[in-house]
Amino acid sequence: MKVFRSVSIAMALLLVLVTATGALAQRKLALWWTVEYSAEEKAALEAIVNDFQKETGIKVEWSGYSSTDLWAKVMAGIEAGNPPDVSQVLSHSLVLLADRGLLADVSDLIEKYKGDMIPAGVEASYLLNSKTGKRSYYCIPWGLYTLTINYWTTDIKKAGYDKLPTDWQGFWGAFEKAQTVTGIPATGWSLSDRAEFDVSWPVEQFIMAFGGQLIRDGKLDVGAENRKAVIEALKFHTKWYLENKAPKGVTEWGDPDNNMNLQTHKMSITLNATLSIPRWFYDKERDKYFNETASANYPQPGPLGKPYPVLTNIYPMIIPANAPNPKEAKAFADFFMQKKNYDKYIQGLEARFFPMYKSTFDNPYFANPKDPHIFPSRQHFFGPAAPVNWMLHPGYAKFVIGHGWHKMVSRVAVDKWSPERAADEALESLKRAVERY
């Protein structure tokens, strides 16, 4: 009996020892990722995580969040000294984190892959760190996106158009005309604080179209030309609502509401930062994807009769400077960006984001001219393109994070301020936001 007990204890101790040693030897990393719109996103992430684990033996403990929740969680994690090893953040918060020196420099990885990367995306990742006073690469831009234009071709046909006009006035005029025929509101984008980029991005894009460029050479320019562009952009952004050419609820819309309203045909056209609307049609009503809806390229020339750049943005992968497992984090980022793994992942997302690699853009999946959505949206990256302003200045990013543009469109649309007054208020706020940098 005594012997049996001794052997049992010895074996138990051995088991504990082996387990403990194994646990110590097990390399691992914590991955926080955005999983918010589709099952495909989750499946694509799980696939790349599994491949990585198999190849490296590094265990990945991953958690999925919505993009806004993730942003707050990353902030809290970094501050509490318990950050993830690898994560995503929205691009405006990326700029603030880089500026405060909270992200690991990943120049080595960018140098390795940038030969095949879209230059605008690489440029957007070259960020200022106010602690060092220098710019460097503080993220791996893995996804590229643009404000896509999704519309019902059936409405345009009912208005008597075979093809959508490609000049600014003709383009938007076609949807106004369609409304008079169909009775369906022409367009709609959010004017509410419950949305994020769905408000700021169209304002920024319209400022560009009206000849504005608020950040030039890293500095804020609030001169007369830009003031005029901001006024016109605010007018254009809100006129659809004010002239009853948008669903009434735009003043309350969150990010998914323009999706829902276009999908249920409560309006004819909308702007959306990803191709999530067409993807919904592809999954649920494929006939409509191919035969009743389409995505458009931006109408050129712009309202001033001149071409204007289409704004592009990146979806970044970050490694916090205080990540507990930086080596494993870099190994994951490296694995993720290797062409064979990357292509599988990005296609798994089903074009919710566009690829960072030029060569991936040439895949038939992204380069099929018969696809009514992916192909026209793809063209945004190959015409005149520019990064969104908030990637160019941390103060500007702060203005956008603080819903600076949300406030101004609400002032014009809801509080009935003149666009001039709202533009002046916006420029004053912008001046205050950038002055500390």
């Binding site: 902030m75 970094i78 020196g101 909270l102 009434k248 309350e252």
Partner: protein, 296 residues
């Protein structure tokens, strides 16, 4: 003799007493005192994510005083607390008086009345939001049938603030009604009977018996409700997200914005430290009132 025995007993068993109190004391210091003192300290520093706190005196408070969004959130908090608490408690008292009478089916009505309080907060908030949706909401589906135009309930300041208040009252009215009901049940029936014998009318019963006897409870409830309502985050966050145009923020949501959108823990702390003097006075009043009613 008695006090000497007490002192002797206390001295002998003191370590045991401390031992029993120790877990609570540790939790109290860790989760109440330390965060509170930290918050006060951070409000006087520049403390952004990734930066070590650096003393800046009153700079954050001056900055907040010049921030129009913050000023608006203070006004909204005052409206939310002032209107929300008072309307809710007055209504609660009357509903409690209603339930304090005998009538057929009282238990059923009481149970139904309690439902909003029992319902999960997030799902009830989302239901409110959907019912009030301008394009798809049930309320706006009914309005045109009655000859009215659709209203953007959450898309304009006045109606959005109204809805926030309405939700708060709807949600918490049952809870305070229960509290008042238990208070009313504590009033001896013979007091009313004696007054009735003397010819007191119902309004006189309310004025001279019910209100004086429930006064202490009402004050404590008001103070507690003010403290709870001041810190309410989820109602505004889920109903309006602080919009339209950042106009319906309250202190809790604006502090969240500072902390988790900008990473400015200094301003987030200062938002609440601004209110500490008011809160501390309120809490002291609650404590004093409770002590008075306990030991009177």
């Amino acid at each position: 003799m008695g006090s000497a025995r007490k002192r002797e007993g206390w001295g002998r068993d003191a370590w045991k007493s401390y031992l029993f109190v120790l877990p609570f004391l540790a939790l109290f210091l860790s989760f109440i005192v330390y965060p509170l003192l930290s918050e006060v300290y951070y409000s006087f520093t520049r403390y952004e994510i990734g930066l070590s706190p650096r003393f800046v005196g009153l700079k954050n408070f001056v900055g907040l005083a010049h921030d129009s969004d913050y000023r608006q959130s203070v006004i909204n908090t005052l409206i939310y607390v002032g209107v929300g608490v008072n309307v809710k408690l007055v209504l609660s008292l009357f509903v409690a008086m209603f339930f304090n009478r005998d009538f057929r089916g009282r238990s059923l009505v009481q149970a139904l009345f309690l439902l909003p309080w029992a319902a999960a907060t997030i799902s009830s908030l989302l239901s409110f939001r959907w019912m009030l949706d301008t394009d798809f909401g049930v309320l706006n589906a009914l309005l045109p049938m009655l000859g009215f135009q659709k209203i953007q309930w959450l898309g304009q300041y006045s109606t959005a603030m109204g809805i926030i208040l309405m939700y708060h009252i709807w949600k918490y009215l049952p809870f305070w009604t229960l509290i008042f009901l238990s208070g009313l049940k504590g009033i001896p029936p013979d007091v009313y009977e004696a007054a009735k014998v003397d010819g007191a009318a119902p309004l006189q019963l309310l004025r001279w018996i019910t209100l004086p006897m429930i006064k202490g409870l009402y004050i404590v409830c008001t103070l507690i409700s003010v403290i709870w309502t001041m810190g309410d985050f989820i109602t505004v966050y889920l109903l309006t997200g602080g919009g339209p145009g950042q106009s319906t923020n309250v202190l809790a949501t604006i502090a969240y914005r500072f902390a988790f959108r900008f990473g400015e823990f200094d301003n987030a702390s200062a938002c609440f430290v601004f209110l500490f003097p008011v809160m501390i006075v309120l809490i002291l009043l609650v404590v004093r009132k409770l002590e008075a009613s306990t030991y009177a």
